[in-house]
């Protein structure tokens, strides 16, 4: 198909980069926001704007809450989608109680799984979850959407498109293509070392966008590569479910020998037994971790088959001080508190895997590294966006001569995924501040309304970009770029103002108190608005011909 390897890589980079770039913009941007997903949750749920708390006492606070929990109608419906068996009248048999916290969470996430006796697979369960204030035990209302951790975060790995898991597959293919784009980009970039620090905004759009594309691609190359790669490794079980299909017999054989080795019961005994003191077990776990030189807080606690003689309690350490997602799990017999198993140190392969997944999932406590991650993610977005701009600039004259709509469509889609995506982000935050706490009867829940605001804003931005795209067919600039930049510049301070008006938290107050989650989100929104304003003004000057390089001086720039 091609005369040489470099040309084949250039073709691959251009066309796959263009098509999958639209998906990758969302993955990188919402991935960057996900670094501070829990802080965005604080902004979106003002009732949770207090300091992170340690795991509260199980015996005194969590146990009564767990005992009172039961699945909602929605939970039962969700489970019925894949459990093809009749649901019991009452959910009295608990398979699992779990609680999970991080060093960034003021509120505690708890969840429970209830047995479905008629189900074929004994592991199938109906799951329910709740968020509680660990200082008082009070539950947060169900329909408060955690915009960071339950919307932006899943968006970046699944596009929130769950039908047939298609969203996961689209992101998976895009990630593979990202890796291919990075390698092919290096193959194409002849002056990679000489141009390492080169950015010439005063030159033509085509040259300066290519400079910025190369710069942001190369300086964060290890970051871009590792994030795409580790993202794939994290979901390997979904993309290559070998051990649950072709190698299922081998997997079963292993599970059986492992159950014998670990001594952790695979099934319930069917005999009732009281639950011992979990607080005492936590204290013992902390004592053992300290004895190994790894003193720490509880990150997660799980109770399997509580109330049954085979029940056991698993306590995991919060891994804030290292990259690897370790748990140092210790398992206790639920009725007596006797230690059943202390997980041994990781094998070499386990350590490598934990490092790779931990690098991506970021449970560590290191604010500078988190901000550097955000920088990396945004650099990735700039790389993709400048890729689009370069593509259109390089070809729009040629498309205009051929009367092709390609340039116009590619450019409108670029606007949609750059400024349009930013507008939809502000859109959901604005909706979050405007929608009343109690939504009228019969209306969709608050969380759903916020999601409609997000997608609706994005669709509007796309329509606007297409409607205004006429000039691109004449090899000129689409005014929607400037218009959406100005819209962002206007809506950003509006968003911050709405936070002040509806919660009383303004920057002077949050900065004064040092309440960084909310101050950080407000400041980031204002930075976005400022950059959008600068960009809009620059585009307006350009459109008025004040900054442009005369057409006859613009020279063809080849890639690489």
């Amino acid at each position: 198909m091609f005369q040489n390897f470099r040309l084949s890589m250039a073709w691959l980079h251009t066309w796959f980069g263009l098509v999958l770039g639209f998906v990758l913009m969302a993955v990188f941007f919402f991935g960057a926001l996900s670094v501070f997903d829990r802080e965005i949750d604080r902004w979106a749920i003002p009732e949770s704007r207090f300091e992170p708390q340690p795991m509260p006492s199980f015996d005194k606070m969590l146990r009564p809450i767990f005992e009172a929990m039961k699945p909602t109608k929605a939970d039962i419906e969700d489970a019925s989608a894949y459990i093809k068996a009749p649901m019991p009248e009452r959910f009295d048999t608990v398979n699992y109680w779990g609680a999970y916290t991080t060093h960034r969470d003021p509120v505690l996430g708890i969840y429970a799984g209830y047995a479905v006796p008629a189900a074929k697979d004994p592991d199938d369960a109906v799951w329910t979850d709740s968020t509680i204030d660990p200082r008082t035990g009070a539950a947060l209302p169900d329909d408060q959407l955690k915009i960071g951790s339950r919307f932006f975060y899943p968006l970046h790995y699944s596009l929130n498109f769950h039908w047939m898991d298609l969203g996961y597959w689209i992101v998976g293919i895009s990630s593979l293509v990202m890796l291919a784009a990075l390698v092919s980009g290096v193959v194409m970039h002849r002056k990679i070392f000489r141009e390492m620090f080169t950015f010439r905004p005063q030159k033509t759009t085509q040259r300066s966008s290519l400079d910025l594309h190369n710069l942001t691609g190369v300086v964060a190359l290890p970051f871009h590569f590792f994030f795409a790669f580790t993202g794939l490794v994290i979901f390997a079980g979904l993309y290559f479910p070998v051990s649950h299909t072709q190698m299922m017999p081998l997997h079963e054989q292993h599970e059986q020998s492992e159950a014998q080795e670990t001594g952790l019961p695979h099934e319930r005994a069917g005999v009732a037994a009281p639950l011992g003191s979990v607080d005492a077990m936590v204290a013992e776990a902390q004592r053992r971790w300290a004895a190994r030189g790894m003193a720490g807080e509880v990150g997660a606690l799980g109770l399997r088959f509580p109330g049954d003689a085979n029940g056991y309690v698993s306590i995991y350490r919060s891994g804030t001080d290292r990259i690897a997602l370790t748990g140092e799990g210790i398992h206790f017999k639920a009725s007596t508190g006797e230690v059943l198993r202390e997980e041994p140190p990781s094998t070499t392969v386990e350590s490598v895997n934990e490092f790779l997944t931990g690098l991506h999932l970021q449970h560590f406590r290191h604010w500078m590294l988190r901000w550097l991650y955000v920088l990396g993610g945004l650099a990735g977005c700039v790389c993709i966006a400048t890729g689009f701009i370069f593509f259109v600039e390089k070809r729009k004259r040629q498309y205009a001569k051929q009367n092709s709509q390609m340039g116009r469509v590619a450019d409108a889609l670029a606007i949609t995924t750059v400024t349009g995506m930013l507008l939809s982000t502000l859109g959901i935050l604005i909706a979050n501040r405007l929608i009343p706490v109690s939504v009228p009867e019969g209306w969709p829940g608050r969380g759903d309304l916020e999601k409609y605001a997000f997608w609706g804003t994005w669709v509007l931005a796309m329509l606007h970009a297409f409607v205004r795209s006429g000039p691109v067919a004449r090899a000129q600039l689409n005014p929607a770029w400037r218009e959406q930049c100005f819209a962002l510049a206007f809506l950003a301070p509006v968003t911050v103002l709405l936070n002040w008006m509806t919660t009383g938290d303004h920057l002077v107050k949050t900065l004064g108190q040092g309440y960084w989650p909310v101050a950080g989100v407000d400041l980031s929104i204002l930075v976005l608005g400022t950059l959008a304003l600068v960009a809009g003004l620059h585009l307006r000057r350009k459109e008025r011909g004040l900054d442009s390089v005369p057409a006859h001086l613009e020279t063809e720039v080849t890639s690489g």
Binding site: M1, F2, Q3, F5, L7, S8, M9, A10, W11, L12, T14, I173, L176, L179, A180, V183, S184, F229, L232, V233, A236, F240, V242, S243, Q246, M247, P249, L250, H251, Q253, H254, E258, T347, V349, E350, V352, N353, L356, K394, R395, T558, S559
Partner: protein
Amino acid sequence: MATASSVSTRHVVSRIAAALLGGYVFTWGFIALSLAGLYGLGMRFHDAEALANIIGFLLYLVVFLWAFGAGRLNRVWLVLVGGGLLMAGTGALIQSLLV
């Protein structure tokens, strides 16, 4: 700009399919073979699985790029699908010996 020498749409589609689908079959075969093979050699199950996955994705990247860089498309299809099936088959054989 990189233009393909005049080729049919069918060829382009076939090449993309070879890279994506052929690459997938090849990678699946590799993971199946590595998982069974390493476990058979005494590695812990989840270690074998993790290692197979990690190297598998890197391999997928390599064959994906190769599918575009290589000359004859028929050879690409043969190597990727044929190789993948051969590896998957060998993995199945190893499994039958172990279980």
